[in-house]
Point group: C2
Chain length 408, copies 2
Amino acid sequence: MSGTEAGPRLTRRRLLAMGGGGALGIAFAGREALSAPPAGEAAVPFHGRRQAGILTPAPGRLAFAAFDLTAEGSANLEALLRDWTAAAERLMAGKVVQAPAGTAPADPGEAVGLAPAHLTVTIGLGPGAFARGTGRAGLRPTPLQPLPVFQGDRIDAARSGGDLCVQACADDAQVAFHAIHALAHVGRGGVNLRWLQTGFTRSHSGKGPHPTPRNLQGFRDGTANIAATEASALRRHVWVGNEGPRWLRGGTYLVARRIRIHMERWDATPLALQEGVIGRKKDTGAPLTGVRERDLPDFAAKNPESFLPVIPMSAHVRQSHPSNNRGVRILRRGYSFADGADPGTGDLDAGLFFIAFMRDPGRQFAALQARLAASDALNDFIQHRASAVFAVPPGISPGGVLGGGLFA
Amino acid sequence: MSGTEAGPRLTRRRLLAMGGGGALGIAFAGREALSAPPAGEAAVPFHGRRQAGILTPAPGRLAFAAFDLTAEGSANLEALLRDWTAAAERLMAGKVVQAPAGTAPADPGEAVGLAPAHLTVTIGLGPGAFARGTGRAGLRPTPLQPLPVFQGDRIDAARSGGDLCVQACADDAQVAFHAIHALAHVGRGGVNLRWLQTGFTRSHSGKGPHPTPRNLQGFRDGTANIAATEASALRRHVWVGNEGPRWLRGGTYLVARRIRIHMERWDATPLALQEGVIGRKKDTGAPLTGVRERDLPDFAAKNPESFLPVIPMSAHVRQSHPSNNRGVRILRRGYSFADGADPGTGDLDAGLFFIAFMRDPGRQFAALQARLAASDALNDFIQHRASAVFAVPPGISPGGVLGGGLFA
C-alpha cells in the first residue's frame, strides 16, 4: 500500500486524464481524458482529531458494513488496519485504491470518474476483534460488549454484530457502495463481509438551512439531536475520556440498530393518534405543547378539558427525553432503509437504520433503550431486528493508522 | 380521488405554506411556512404520448415494485388504475397524494418539503392482470407471458412476476421510495405489494455531457443503448404498433431481470481477462478493436501474432450485438443494486437490476437472452435471479387513465 502513493491532489479523474501511473496504470491506462468534470468535487478531510463521519453533516446515502476477521486476519489486524487506513484516505479524496501486488485490478472501478461526493469512511472495532487467542483479549474496553436483548426485540444474528465495521456516507450511492466494495476487496483473506445495510435520507443541495429530515413514518427525526457545535455536550456524551483505554480516548462507540417499521399499521393510523404516539406534530415537528419545531416540550401541560397530559405519558418524545432519562443524550445519525417486501404478506421491509455515537453504550443506549422497550408507545409500530456495537478509535494525523494505538 | 384536486402549480411546499386545504388539511395543517425552498424543483411532465420514465433520462435512484391484485382488486382494476393515475400525477408534481375518505393521513408524508426531483412514475400490467375470471382474459396481448427459464437461471419466484408494476425513478431515493409507498397506500385493499427492488446509478449534476455510467463490474454500461433521439429505432424496436391490441398501441413492454454479479470472483479476475469477457476496455469503454467508447467493434479483426479474434468469440459485446442477433435492439434502463451479503459466505448480494423496454419480449429479449445464456462469457460471473414482464400502456392526456383503453 505504499511506494506508489500519488500526491494528495490527484483525483481519480485527474489520474485518468494524465494517463495513469504506477500501480494505477495496471487497472486504468487512461487512454482518454474524461469529459466534463463531475459536479461538486467536495472532499471531506481524512485527517483530524476525530474520524470523519461522526460530526460531519450526514449526506444522503449510506452503505454500512460489518466484517468478521478470518483466522488469518485475526493474526494480522494491524496490517489490515494499515491497509484500510491507506485505502480510506484515498477513497475520501476520490482516488482509486491501491493494493498489494496482484493480478486483478486493485480497485473494482465503479467509482472511476465520480467526484468524492463528501464521502466519509468511519472504521470501528467490534467485541470479536478482541477475542481470546488473538493476544488482544486484555485490550477490550469493558463497555464494548454485545447489547442485551430488550423487550420486544427480534434480533437477526446474521445482520448483527461483527468484528469490524465500516460506515460509508456520501452524496452518491455508487460512491458509498464503492467504498465498502473496495475495502472488502483490499481486506480479502483477512476479513469476510458479515452484513451490509444501505440507507438514505433526504437529499439537500448543500446550500441554505437544512430542515430536519423526515423518516419513513413521515415525521421529522433528529430535532433534539446533539449538534456538532455543542462542544461541551459532545465531551460529556460522545467522546471517550480518561475512563477509557489510551488507544480509544478521543474516540467513541457506535451503536447500530436495524429498526423495522410496521408501515402498513402505521399508515392506517389516524393522524391524531400518530401525533400522540410521537408527541410531536407531523407537519411542523413541534411538540404537541408548542408551535415551532425547536420549542421545548412541556411535559406538565394538561388538556384543560380532559385533564390528561397534552403529551401522552407513553409518547416517544417524553419517554426518550433526557429529562426523563437522567440526562442521557446520544449523537444520532439515522438513515432510512427499504429492503423489499416480505414474501406472502407483502409488508414493506423498511424502517430506520439507527446509528448513534456515545461515550458508553451501557450507560447511555442500553439504559435508554431498556426504558423505551418497556414504555414507548412507538413499540406498537416498530421492532428492533438487528443490533451491533463498535469502538471507534479517534482520528489520526498523516502517517497514522486508525486504531493503531492498539499496537503501540 | 377527485373534487379536492388542487391546481397544478401547488407543490407540497406551497400547500404547507398556505395552510393546506381540502383533504390535505387533514394530514398537514401547515402551521408554518417551511424554510428555504428545496433545490431543483424540476418536475417531469406527467401527460404526453408516452408514459414518463421510458425515454426520460434516468436519474440516480430507482424504486421498482410489483403488486398483485387481491380478489377485490381483480374486480376493480379500472378503479385502481384511476386512483393510481391521479396519484402518479400528483407525485410527479411534488404534491402529496389524496385518497378516498379515511381516518388515516392520505399520504405517508416522508416526501413533504422535498422537491419533485425529476420523479417519474411508470405503470405496467403483468400477465396476471388478465387472469381468467376477471373478464379481461381475452384482452391479454399474446407477447405478455412469463419469460422462459433460460440456461443458468436461478429464478426466485418471490422476487419475480406480478400483476402490476410501478417503476419510480428520481434524483432522491426518499422521493422514489415515497412514490411506491404512497401508491401501495392508495391501492390498499386492491393490491398487495409483491416485491420491491431499489437501485442506483451514478449521480450527475444535470449539466454538461453525461458519461455512460459504470456498473458494479467497473465497466461502462449502456454505450450502444438506443438513444431517445433515435425516432425510427424507437418505432421499430420499442413502441407497440398496429400488431398490438388497441389499448397498448404506442405503449411498450418492460422486462425486468435481477442479475446477481459474483463480485468476489469478478474482482479477483485479471484486467485483461475482464476486458476479454466484456470485449471492451475498462477505462475508456472502447471496444477492444477501438480507441474511443463509441467506436464500432470490429468483430473480424484478428491478433496479428496469435490469429485469434481481438474480440473473443464469447465476449459479451459480440454475443449481444445486434449484428449477431438479427438486428434485435432493446431500450435499456439499468440500475445497480446492493442488497446485503449472503450469510455464511459473506458474498455481496449485488448486481444489476436490468430493465428494458421493447416491442415484443419474445422476439427481442427472449431471443437475445437464449443466445447469451448459451454463449456469453459473462455467464461465469453473473446469474439471473428474478424475472418479470409487463405491458406498459401509452401515455395519456389530461383526464385520461393509464391503461384506461382496456375498459373502453
